[in-house]
């Protein structure tokens, strides 16, 4: 079975986000970028399936600017076998919407015929939490979103999902789309020899036009603002004073 893992290049989660002065978006020029943390978990899961003999090939795919190559090389260094980059934007500030990403991925799925697609549940930039579900709708495949455990049993997969209030286990027919939540695994760090090896693994470059997909955004960004600042609070001198203040505020 082949596993397809879509990965996104996003601002590194440790970088402080700055809104551009003209309100057009978040400043991404000369900012450290990394693989979306949820996608790292997805890559790790796919590699573990291969190591366990349940998958025979892991293909990473990224849609965005040319620099997403680096993100794909990270996936290859972790253990993916090959990569596909769909060059869909020239400006690092252009975000391709989940609907367009899902349409492109559906075309990649048609070509590659994977038995399973694992991707992060959301990207930490636009926080849409949508690509996996949308891909699943377009393909008419089963979907298991927010996975914390995946167990493949023949032509179905048992997936435990993180839901409000606890966990739910469902059985999905293969082929399926699974989106990774935090508890699915702890991604490995790529070793130096593997980083070197990754440079020689195949990376195909494509464009949306190759797939006949229109990536024109449906949502126009009217403006981007800093969130409202919290007003400065006070320091209390003791536990007693803290309790008194909380009671006054009606918080306890």
């Amino acid at each position: 079975m082949k596993v397809l893992v879509p990965v996104k290049r996003v601002i590194d989660y440790n970088v402080k986000v700055r809104v551009k002065a003209d309100g057009s978006g978040v400043d991404l020029a000369n900012v450290k970028m990394s693989m979306n943390p949820f996608d790292e978990i997805a890559v790790e899961e796919a590699i573990r399936l291969k190591e366990a003999g349940k998958a025979d090939e892991v293909v990473a795919v990224s849609i965005g600017v040319k620099q997403s190559q680096e993100t794909l090389r990270t996936a290859l260094a972790m253990g993916a076998d090959r990569a596909i980059l769909i060059n869909a934007a020239d400006d690092v500030h252009t975000d391709i919407e989940p609907l367009a990403v899902a349409k492109l991925l559906a075309k990649v799925v048609e070509e590659e015929q994977p038995g399973l697609v694992i991707t992060g549940k959301q990207a930490i930039d636009n926080d849409m939490n949508a690509t996996g579900q949308m891909l699943s709708a377009i393909l008419g495949w089963s979907q298991a979103a927010f996975a914390s455990e995946i167990d493949i049993e023949g032509d179905s997969a048992k997936v435990t999902r993180e839901v409000d209030g606890g966990l739910q286990t469902i059985s999905v027919k293969m082929p399926a789309i699974v989106t990774a939540d935090l508890r699915l695994n702890e991604p490995r760090y790529a070793s130096l020899p593997n980083i070197m090896k990754a440079k020689k693994k195949p990376l195909d470059e494509k464009t949306p036009a190759d797939y006949g997909v229109d990536v024109t955004p449906r949502l126009e960004v009217v403006k981007t603002e800093e969130p409202a600042e919290r007003s400065a609070g006070i320091k209390v001198g003791s536990v007693d004073e803290l309790i008194e203040k909380l009671k006054e505020a009606g918080a306890v």
Partner: protein, 309 residues
């Protein structure tokens, strides 16, 4: 102009709070019709009919609509979509599972976690875990939106909407429910709890994390943790509050031994009241705290637990 709102129903029971907050968010968009879908949903539909501002309730009961499965509910909503310009829901894990699927079936974008309605096509939503607020305007014929409930007041009760029964769409038969594991503790769920007590690296060990749990139990609160505490093995990963964990906005958030890294603040700074207990008075957490106590947590937390209530 009309709105179809997917009610939040778990095991046949309406989540009134989440649903009523979504009704209040959707009010300005048009007449609100609620869809109560589930294996059993009639009682939930009747309860939803009492929410102020609801003009009609559609009840769909079918085994395929139970157990939170996305495909049958999405198919049902898509089959009803021609009568509505907006399809909305509270931004729960269930709606986040279902609505993007609906949007793709209708070939429109999803607008997730909206925090404000500007007009029928324009919504505000947080991006970068709330570090920026973006206003987006949809050019799609239909708008599919989930609302972040912490940002809206619940609509009142007293309505008498008509209730109509409809049938489910064909079950695509793609997935089946196996089992539910509700959280083992009696503590409230992190993302919907009214009070959250979180521990950070300062707590120092997995054993000492019990201090956080005791305080939480005294307050009837959910337990959270910073990424540093999770990475150090003091707390389970599913307790993580922050950009890569859960985003919470309780009425009271108590941060214990948490320095306040950006990635943690992103997950909790919309809380109504924030308390920080930390021995380092320079810790950035104090810049967002309403009440800060500079103290050794090993003394302050047991004292606080003891003296409360």
């Amino acid at each position: 102009m009309s709105v179809l709102l997917l009610a939040e129903i778990t095991a046949g029971e309406l989540s009134l709070d989440a649903t009523a907050k979504a009704v209040s968010a959707a009010q300005s968009l048009g007449d609100v019709t609620i869809l109560a879908a589930g294996e059993t949903a009639a009682a939930a539909g009747d309860a939803a009919a009492k929410i102020d501002g609801v003009s009609k309730v559609l009840v769909a009961e079918d085994a395929s609509l139970g157990h939170r499965l996305a495909e049958p509910t999405a198919a049902l909503i898509a089959s009803l979509a021609s009568d509505y310009e907006h399809i909305v829901a509270p931004a729960t894990t269930d709606a986040k599972n279902i609505l993007p699927r609906v949007a793709a079936l209708l070939d429109v974008m999803i607008i997730s976690d909206a925090t404000a309605v500007v007009d029928g096509a324009t919504f505000e939503r947080p991006i970068y875990a709330g570090n920026a607020i973006q206003t987006v305007k949809s050019s799609d014929a239909k708008k599919v939106v989930t609302f972040r409930t912490a940002n809206f007041d619940a609509a009142g009760e007293g309505g008498t909407a008509a209730v109509e029964t409809i049938s489910a769409a064909d079950n695509p038969g793609l997935s089946e429910w196996v089992e539910d594991k509700v959280a083992e503790s009696d503590r409230p769920e992190l993302t919907s709890a009214g009070i959250v007590v979180s521990g950070g690296r300062g707590v120092g060990s997995e054993e000492d994390f019990a201090l956080i749990e005791k305080l939480a139990d005294k307050l009837g609160a959910a337990v959270g943790a910073s990424r540093a505490a999770v990475d150090s093995g003091y707390a389970a990963n599913d307790l993580q509050v922050g950009q890569t964990g859960k985003v919470v906005a309780p009425d009271l958030y108590v941060a214990v031994g948490i320095s306040g890294a950006i990635q943690h603040l992103a997950g909790m700074k919309d809380s109504k009241v924030i308390v920080a207990i930390n021995k380092d008075e320079e810790a950035p957490i104090f810049q967002v705290a309403d009440y800060g106590l500079v103290a050794d947590l090993f003394q302050a937390v047991p004292e606080l637990t003891d003296k409360l209530g």
